[in-house]
C-alpha cells in the first residue's frame, strides 16, 4: 500500500480532544501560549514596574539631598526611562499572531530574531542600569544607616573598596541572572528554533 494512501487514512480518524474543542470552542476565552505572546506580556509587566520604579527614583531625588546619590539615581532614572521606551518600542513591534503569509522558514526566523532582540535588551539593561543603581543604593543605604552625610560615609577607604567590590560582584551577577532567567524560560525553545532554521536553510542546492 502506498505511503500516500496510509497517510490519507489518518484523515478519516477522529480525535475526541479535537472534536470537544470544536464543539465548544469559546474562541474569545482561549489564551495564547506562543513565546512571543509571553514576551509581549513580560514587556508590559516590565514597563509597569519601570514606571513604578521611576516614580520612586523621582521621590528619592526630591527627598534625599545628597548630590552623589542624586547623580547616581539621576543616571539610573535616565536609563530606566530609556529601558521603558525600548520596551514600549519592542512591545509595539512584536507581532505574536502567526502569519499565514510567511513561509515556515521566514516565520521561524521572525520568532527567533524577536526573542534574541528581547534577550539582548534585558542584558543591556542589566549592564547599564545595575552599576549606577548599586552605587546609588549603597551610598543612600550607608548614609541613612550611619546617620551621616554621604561625603562623610564615603570618605573612609574601606567603604570605597566595599562599593567597588559590591559593583564588581553585583553587576556580573545581575547580568548572569538576566541571562540565566532568559535561558531557563526560552533557551531550549530558542535552540530548537535555531536548529530548525539551520536544517531548512542548509544544504541548499
Amino acid at each position: 500500500m502506498s505511503l500516500e494512501k496510509q497517510w490519507q487514512h489518518i484523515n478519516e480518524q477522529e480525535d475526541e480532544d479535537l472534536s470537544a474543542l470544536m464543539n465548544n470552542p469559546q474562541l474569545k476565552k482561549l489564551t495564547s501560549h506562543q513565546p512571543l505572546q509571553k514576551i509581549k506580556n513580560n514587556l508590559l509587566i516590565n514597563m509597569a514596574w519601570g514606571i513604578g520604579i521611576a516614580v520612586c527614583y523621582v521621590l528619592i531625588l526630591f527627598f534625599f539631598p545628597y548630590w552623589q546619590v542624586r547623580l547616581c539615581i539621576g543616571v539610573v532614572l535616565l536609563f530606566t526611562l530609556w529601558a521603558i521606551s525600548t520596551a514600549y518600542t519592542q512591545y509595539k513591534s512584536i507581532q505574536p499572531t502567526v502569519s499565514s503569509q510567511n513561509s515556515l522558514l521566514a516565520e521561524m526566523k521572525r520568532h527567533h530574531a524577536s526573542m534574541i532582540l528581547w534577550m539582548k535588551t534585558q542584558e543591556r539593561v542589566a549592564l547599564f542600569i545595575y552599576p549606577f543603581s548599586t552605587a546609588g543604593g549603597f551610598m543612600l543605604g550607608g548614609a541613612i544607616g550611619s546617620g551621616r552625610s554621604v561625603d562623610y560615609f564615603m570618605s573612609k577607604p574601606v567603604v570605597q573598596i566595599a562599593l567597588v567590590i559590591s559593583i564588581a560582584i553585583l553587576v556580573p551577577l545581575a547580568y548572569w541572572f538576566a541571562k540565566w532567567l532568559f535561558n531557563k524560560s526560552f533557551g531550549k525553545h530558542l535552540k530548537t528554533l535555531g536548529e530548525n532554521i539551520q536544517e531548512l536553510s542548509s544544504d541548499e542546492v
Binding site: M22, L36, S99, S100, N102, L104, M108, K188
Partner: protein
C-alpha cells in the same frame, strides 16, 4: 464570515490539525495545548485570509507555522494512538489503520522540519507548493524529499 462559519470551515478540515499536531505533540497534554493554539492562531489570522488560496492550504500553513514556533516539551514523543481503541469490524480496515499508525510513528522519528516536508508531500502538495510553504528552493525540496523517503523506508523495514 462569522465565528460559526469559521468553525464550520475548520471542522471540515480538522484532519489537517489532527495529523500535523500528532506528528509533534510529545504527550496528550501537549496535543490538547497545540490544538487550542492552532485554533486560536487560525482565528486571529482569519481576517488575513483573502480567499486567493484554498482554505485547507491556508489552514495547513497556519498549522505548521504555529506548531513549529510554539514552545514545546523537549522530550521524545511518548504517546501513540492505540489500535484497540477503535475495534474495527472489517479486517482490511484494521490493516489500513495499523499501516497508517506505523507510518505516523515513522514520521515522528524524523527531524522536525523533515516531518513538515513529508507530511505536505503526502497530503498532495507539489514540490513548488512545498517550497513556497517552507521558504526554501525547489531543488532543495526534491533533494530533501528523496532523503526523507529513504529514511522512512529504512524505519518501516
Amino acid at each position: 464570515m462569522s465565528e460559526r462559519d469559521f468553525l464550520a470551515a475548520v471542522k471540515n478540515n480538522q484532519g489537517i490539525i489532527y495529523k500535523l499536531v500528532g506528528l509533534y505533540a510529545a504527550d496528550t497534554e501537549e496535543k490538547k495545548d497545540l490544538y487550542q493554539e492552532v485554533l486560536l492562531q487560525a482565528w486571529k489570522s482569519w481576517p488575513s485570509f483573502r480567499g486567493d488560496a484554498k482554505f485547507s492550504t491556508w489552514l495547513y500553513r497556519i498549522c505548521l507555522n504555529t506548531i513549529l514556533t510554539q514552545q514545546r516539551k523537549q522530550k521524545k514523543i511518548n504517546y501513540q494512538e492505540r489500535l484497540d481503541d477503535i475495534s474495527p469490524t472489517i479486517e482490511s480496515t484494521a490493516i489500513l489503520k495499523e499501516d497508517s499508525l506505523r507510518l505516523q510513528q515513522a514520521i515522528r522519528r524524523l527531524a522536525e522540519t523533515d516531518r513538515a516536508i513529508i507530511s505536505s508531500h503526502l497530503d498532495g502538495y507539489n514540490n513548488g507548493e512545498i517550497a513556497e510553504m517552507m521558504g526554501i528552493g525547489l531543488n532543495h525540496v526534491a533533494v530533501k524529499l528523496h532523503r526523507i523517503k529513504q529514511q522512512i523506508t529504512t524505519i518501516l523495514k
